[in-house]
């Protein structure tokens, strides 16, 4: 018994070694960019994906040999991307806040895969599994210890990853650039004081870490059945878990963290199934937990390891000196201008409403409804990111909770779906509040990462439970949801009536959000964002305020998710609520305007209508003389461009944290605004002069 335990243990260690070395590799790369440029590079997964896909494309479509394909994907393309990002984006953002760098990295991880797929004309195809960097990688095995046969791919993973790490070590110890880089890793400011160009060092670090990412992507690819960009997002989570073990500062510890993660997962996979044979209640966890272990580990490290919290303060010395966000355009707007805007709004929306309710066909009504519902969901981002200043990447999970609750309640108890939607929103609020409890203390960037880990955990584990997503088989056959019936009103009878319901829900939520913004909660959150220490000094409890913000935000997301499920008559988890979708939502809302209700509405419209209206060229057919038959040839533009466009717009976040639309609005109306104020002043002066004459 004991002997077999030892043998199993050893086998698990051997099994965990190949992925462990790759994890260590990306953990090192992650720490390297973080320490040299302060960027929490969430786009790391995207970079790994691009190299893996490039390698795949070159091997299978162009039928290149292994070596040229490897050189192109890992040693040319990967560093090129890294250098481009460093030079064009992150070099100019050295003093930006950690959170804005994170938002930009999220934008990049949305934009880069789509951009690559468009430029390289790459489409993930099922049934063509990726191959590794050695011939017959998956079919030839070696068994040096007699208990675990390594495939050639696995041996290649170990050898290449170890070689890359040794090279990095040699570079650090033996070359001048390495010495300088070590200096930058230790203390960028001191290095700059010593006259070493930090820019060049940081470019070098980006090139190296991007190569590490690319190499990791190519090495890990044979473990996947199909190359899909979202699978590579989990690589970032692994990298961050490894990096978190090193508290983001230590390269050797990140290496150990990556190895340990590989071993831990293998041990877990070996032993948990046995325990769950004895304890049946463990079974569903065992089946679902395995793929999500990296997220659980990362979440656990973030929440339960106090050293992480301490390292955050040290890692972000500029956090306290973020430039204040500019006042909202509405705050400085002349009343006359506000009146004009409102008049325009009334005319515009009356027209849209007239078209929607009398002219539009089923497809457009359905698109409009979806836009309104997504705008409702985006109001949850307005609350948590716009008001509370926290980046949450699990809004998709909150929305899914609303959708799944409606499905379960209607399916099991035949409950009224509107009531079920409210219950779903309340459950989401409860989950949001509970989630915020442990992550609140960490704050800032790590809070965003913890919510991302939770989103992945929800995606990999919770959705598969039969009491959540209805079990994996139900996911395939559909999680059907009926349309609501309210007394004599049957919202299922016509899509237009459901659009009306969606508009009513949006307006109620929007009014509530505005009331909160102007009320105690909104003002408390604004004070906290303005200065946390000062807010505490007048008796504001940061934890309480943020728990409320999380709960409210999750409530809104849950309600919106329930509405979306009703509209589509199905939860459609995979299409609507995945972690990637939530990342895109965030990018969309912050690049338009995270702090206003209009911003959420515009983001909803952009998400749903941008592709059919703009990219398909439909807007041109609304002009005279152009019909669908004589549209310019480049229409329809592929829908992926919206990921590229909005992802790249997020880059502006550091300069315009109020959002592009908000910024544009201010600039567009500034002249007129000033003219109105000048006229007011003139009139006041005139009146004063006349009053002076009279006396």
């Amino acid at each position: 018994m004991l002997a077999s335990f030892g043998e199993d243990f050893f086998r698990a260690l051997l099994q965990g070694t190949p992925p462990g070395t790759v994890y260590a590799l990306i953990g090192l790369g992650f720490v390297l960019t973080y320490k040299t440029s302060g960027v929490f590079n969430l786009a790391f997964g995207a970079q790994a994906y691009i190299s893996a896909a490039m390698f795949f494309k070159a091997r299978q479509d162009w039928e290149w040999g292994i070596v040229p394909a490897l050189i192109l994907s890992v040693f040319v393309l990967a560093p090129l991307i890294g250098l481009t990002l460093e030079r064009l984006i992150f070099r100019n953002l050295r003093t930006a806040s950690a959170v804005s760098k994170l938002v930009i990295a999220i934008g990049l991880s949305v934009a880069l895969p789509a951009l690559f797929e468009l430029l390289a004309n790459y489409k993930p195809v099922a049934g063509r599994p990726p191959t590794g960097i050695v011939p017959d990688g998956g079919s030839v095995f070696y068994d040096p210890f007699g208990i675990y046969p390594f495939s050639r791919d696995e041996l290649a993973q170990i050898i290449v990853a170890v070689a890359a790490m040794l090279l990095l070590g040699a570079l650090f110890r033996l070359t001048a650039a390495g010495l300088a880089m070590r200096g930058v890793v230790e203390s960028p400011r001191m290095t700059e004081l010593a006259g070493i160009p930090a820019d060049r060092i940081s470019a070098l670090a980006w090139a190296i870490s991007s190569m590490f990412a690319g190499m990791a992507g190519v090495l890990i690819a044979p473990r996947l059945n199909t190359l899909i960009s979202t699978d590579f997002l989990t690589l970032v989570i692994i990298a961050m878990a490894a990096a978190a073990v090193g508290r983001l500062v230590s390269l050797p510890r990140a290496l150990v963290g990556g190895m340990a993660l590989g071993w831990f997962i293998a041990l877990f996979n070996t032993f948990l199934p046995r325990w769950s044979d004895d304890y049946t209640w463990l079974k569903p966890f065992q089946e679902n937990l395995t793929p999500s272990l990296p997220f659980v580990v990362l979440f656990g490290i973030l929440v339960f390891w106090p050293a992480i919290r301490r390292s955050i303060d040290a890692a972000d010395p500029l956090a306290g000196v973020d430039p204040p966000p500019p006042a909202l355009a509405s705050a400085t707007r002349h009343p006359l201008l506000t009146l004009q805007t409102r008049a325009f709004g009334v005319v515009f929306f009356s027209f849209i409403g007239w078209v929607a309710f009398t002219q539009a066909d089923v497809r457009w009504v359905s698109l409009l409804t979806q836009a309104v519902i997504l705008a409702t969901i985006y109001l949850s981002i307005t609350v948590i990111t716009g008001f509370a200043g926290q980046i949450s990447l699990c809004q998709g999970a909150f929305a899914a909770i609303g959708g799944f609750t409606v499905f379960q309640m209607a399916d099991r108890y035949e409950m009224s779906v509107l009531l079920a939607a409210l219950i779903g929103a309340l459950i989401a609020a409860l989950v949001g509040a509970l989630l915020s409890l442990p992550v609140l203390r960490i704050g800032g960037v790590w809070l965003a990462i913890a919510t991302l880990a939770f989103a992945f955990f929800f995606d990999a584990v919770m959705v598969k439970f039969s009491w959540v997503g209805g079990g994996s088989t139900a996911l395939l056959t559909g999680t059907r949801v009926p349309r609501p019936v309210l007394g004599p009103l049957d919202f299922g009878a016509s899509d237009r009536s459901f659009l009306a319901l969606a508009i009513v829900v949006f307006v109620i939520v929007a009014v509530g959000v505005i009331q909160l913004r102007e009320g105690t909660i909104g003002r408390t959150l604004r004070a906290l964002r303005g200065s946390e220490v000062a807010a505490e000094s007048i008796g504001i409890s940061p934890a309480r305020a943020r728990i409320i913000a999380f709960a409210v935000s999750a409530f809104i997301a849950g309600l919106g998710g329930a509405m979306l499920a009703m509209q589509q008559k199905d939860v459609n988890y995979g299409q609507n609520f995945t972690p990637f979708a939530a990342m895109f939502w965030l990018v969309l809302v912050v690049s338009l305007s995270a702090r206003t209700v209009e911003g959420a509405a515009q983001a909803g419209a952009a998400f749903v209508l941008f592709a059919p209206v703009i990219l398909d060229g439909t807007f041109l057919t609304w002009l005279p003389f152009i019909t669908e038959d004589n549209l310019p040839g480049f229409f329809p533009i592929p829908g992926k461009w919206r990921f590229v466009l909005f992802g790249l717009t997020a880059i502006q976040f550091a300069r315009h944290p109020e959002g592009m639309v908000e910024f544009g609005k201010r600039r567009a109306t500034r002249k007129r605004n000033e003219r109105y104020y000048a006229r007011d002043a003139e009139r006041a002066a005139q009146a004063a002069a006349e009053a002076g004459m009279a006396t």
Binding site: P324, P325, P326, A327, G512, Q515, L516, E518, G519, T520, I521, G522, R523, T524, R526, A527, R529, G530, S531, V533, A534, A535, E536, S537, I538, G539, I540, S541, P542, I548, V552
Partner: protein
Amino acid sequence: MTAILESSRIAKSFSGIQALTDVSIDVMEGERVGLIGPNGAGKTTFFNCLLGVLTPDTGTVRFHDRDISELPVHKRAQAGIGRTFQRIELFSDTTVREHLLIAERVHNERGSFWKDLIGRGRPQADEIDRCDAVLELLGLAELGDEPVEALSLGQGRLVEVGRALMTEPSLLLLDEPSSGLDREETAALATTLREIQAEKGFAILLVEHDVDLVADFTERLYVLDFGSLIAEGPTAETLQHPAVRTAYLGTLEVGDQEAMP
């Protein structure tokens, strides 16, 4: 007179370096007390221990006969300790009046989620009146609608004072209020503070390096050096104490700085 703040035998060390050793400071009701010491004497560390930003290794802080050693920062603020900041801390993107309004609201605990939803969360007329009265007192009445980004440093510090006053503190901790201000501004600040204190009757603990301000403003003085109290007593006497003069003032007489080249 009774002591409202009693801190006894506070000690704190950072990775082996003893920053504070058995520091005990009392503040009586309505009193103006100073705490001075050269750079690195432990003033800020002590301040943070009082406020709950740092947890002392040993020692207790009592406020109004209640042990507040374990309370978090915001609870101590609610108990009646107001403060200002050495490096000014205002809420960006907010007007002067809004600063006072939020403090007023938090202090009276009139906020609730449901009130917010029905629109009762907006500033109420009586709150605005009280804030305007304090702004008047501080001489900031004209600036109520200004965004704080438009203020001078001296005005900003007054806004901090006003914000703290809205919570009706019985003790106001001033963290180097003269830093960044010139002589006239400092004098004006001292005058305003004295007037307000005369009206409201709260106690002040002033942490300062500007000896002129301390000599002029405080009644009683504690002197820190290397983390220990080296002298305490009425301000004028304490400043003449030999240990204080060697440790802190060197051989200069008070007021001699102007004569320096």
